[in-house]
Symmetry: C3
Subunit: 138 residues, 3 copies
């Protein structure tokens, strides 16, 4: 009996500790603009955050006009994207629905860029898992 009680206390405490502990640096960036300042900003932020926080998990979700960031011949930060995409804690995820709507093929994406079935659902799922949310604009 005592064993179960201890188990309950541990379970309760673990919930409270999970809530109280310092927040992990997990961020989903929402990019829907082709604006060059926004492209450069999100790359600068990701470079800085991953440099200063080795465990930070960062994902850029692109839909609407945001696809340019990772499209060959359109991205103004192609080298940075290609390099950052090799970092296992950084991902660039393009919305499949937006790709179809805009007739963009996977072969047009920079190396290492991934796709997700639905960009908006990807973002709200991350939010639901406790990731921070940043809309990229300027």
């Amino acid at each position: 009996m005592k064993y179960y009680l201890v188990l309950f206390v541990v379970a309760l405490l673990s919930i409270q500790i999970a809530v109280a502990q310092s927040r992990p640096y997990n961020v989903v960036f929402d990019l829907t603009t082709k604006d060059s300042v926004s492209q450069q900003s999100v790359i600068r932020w990701i470079n800085l955050i991953s440099k200063n926080n080795a465990d930070a998990k960062l994902e850029v979700v692109m839909y609407g006009q945001g696809l340019d960031l990772v499209t060959k011949g359109k991205s103004i930060v192609a080298d940075d994207v290609t390099k950052l995409a090799q970092n296992k804690n950084v991902s660039f995820a393009v919305c499949d629905i937006a790709m179809k709507h805009q007739n963009v093929d996977k072969s047009q994406l920079l190396p290492g860029v991934t796709t997700v079935p639905d960009g908006i659902y990807e973002i709200i799922t991350k939010q639901g898992e406790g990731w921070g949310y940043i809309k990229v604009t300027h």
Copy 2:
């Protein structure tokens, strides 16, 4: 005694299951721009999401310059708004404070459009209830 213990275990598990289960497709869209691309984008997204996810709950909250989306004579997607507003899982909610500030009367809003006392509080309340949040810009 044993009964209470079982009750506690069930209660604890139910909390964990609630956290772990797949996220419902509930989204509050924050619209503060009169930009035509943003108007068209949010309507396209809502059409697609509600078509692909019958249970998705979607709400567009408008304040600042976002009121044009649902204002007669200003909306460039008036037919879509009127049609979507009939869907019980889709709502277009205009901030009362913004309406007063901009001298917009309820009679100027498209059919089916609703109002909320405070647009920002509406948004953060939805966020607090676990809805996803998407800022509409481009």
Copy 3:
């Protein structure tokens, strides 16, 4: 033994009550634009919210091009910022990293404006603490 059981019930109930109670009016505003309409909007919203909700906690986090709001000689709402910054429930927090990147010194900030080590981490920390999140654009 009974004492512990009561304790568990209270703990469980307190978690559920915390989730169910009405959401406090806590908002972190994310400002990355120097746009004048956005500067005026966020100030108007803060004035209204703090007037209508005495307990509302409001914070504007500035990085990217958002620093103009609180920079001497650049802000178009300098008087409002200076006045609002005296309210203990309102804060204007500039990202240290952005200040260094843009060669902005603390002496250039309006009176009462504070700084945070990392603007994005400040925002996602507030989100993690249950604050609402509003991206300021138009």
